[in-house]
Amino acid sequence: MKLAMAWLAGLLFGLGLSLGGMTQPAVVLGFLDLFGAWNPRLLFVMGGAVLTTAIGYRWVLRRNKPLLEATFKLPTARQIDRRLVTGAALFGIGWGLAGYCPGPALASIGGGVASMLLLVATMALGWWLAAKWPAQARSTDTK
């Protein structure tokens, strides 16, 4: 049941990305091209997604627990630090270079374009490398 729900959520997410234009790097880059021929489409994707999620979360998080698990796993981090800002800035550069963020990159695997698979592979490598980054060392330093 959990797996079926996760699969269905993934499917819905992918349908949203695809219909929204997020799996078309030309559209994404057009949105980021604020000083060129700006394409506002992404704004509508974000708006629709954030509004729906905000309304839905208000309703869902009134519950004591989710339907199929014992607890809600919400992020607990609160600190605004260099790690957050550096990570977001590096991600933005990568996003602006090719027009892919992680969701659309994964959803585009089925398109069978070789360079797309390369991007997904180096993205995975980036995840792995960052997980090795000395975050643990730093947090014990400051303790």
Partner: protein, 141 residues
């Protein structure tokens, strides 16, 4: 249908997916978090694999339903694709989220961390496209 309406509709579907994942499994629908957990030793691999498989299946389903998967062609050559992937992977993990985790779920929760991260990655993306297209005259113009 006007592309903007289609995009807003796509956004609503993404939101419904996020709400569904929260009400059933109690999880944030952050793609970088869900997928990177598969590589970095998360103990709960099952639902992560299932979610990613659903994500990959979506364009294929669209292809069957309407003959168009909606997958656009890459705009840059393979060296830039490789570098971009590395930056996206490393950055999203370092910054604890991407367009979905911070941009959608985090903003919907009014998380200050997510609001800042979203502002930073959109700005940094805008600057990158400006440099590539208008200063260097390349990069998928």
């Amino acid at each position: 249908m006007h592309p903007w309406i289609l995009s807003a509709l796509g956004g609503v579907l993404i939101g419904l997916s996020a709400v569904m994942l929260m009400v059933t499994l109690g999880r944030i629908a952050g793609i970088s978090g869900i997928a990177s957990g598969l590589l970095t030793g998360a103990s709960d691999r099952g639902w992560r694999v299932a979610f990613v498989l659903g994500l990959v299946a979506a364009p294929l389903l669209l292809l069957l339903l309407r003959g168009d998967a909606g997958i656009g062609a890459p705009q840059v050559g393979w060296p830039l694709m490789a570098v971009a992937g590395l930056l996206v992977g490393f950055g999203t993990r370092l910054g604890s989220g991407c367009t979905s985790g911070h941009g959608v779920c985090g903003m919907a929760r009014l998380s200050p961390r997510s609001l800042l991260a979203t502002l930073v990655f959109v700005l940094s993306g805008v600057v990158t496209v400006f440099v590539m297209r208008h200063l260097l005259g390349s990069g998928g113009a």
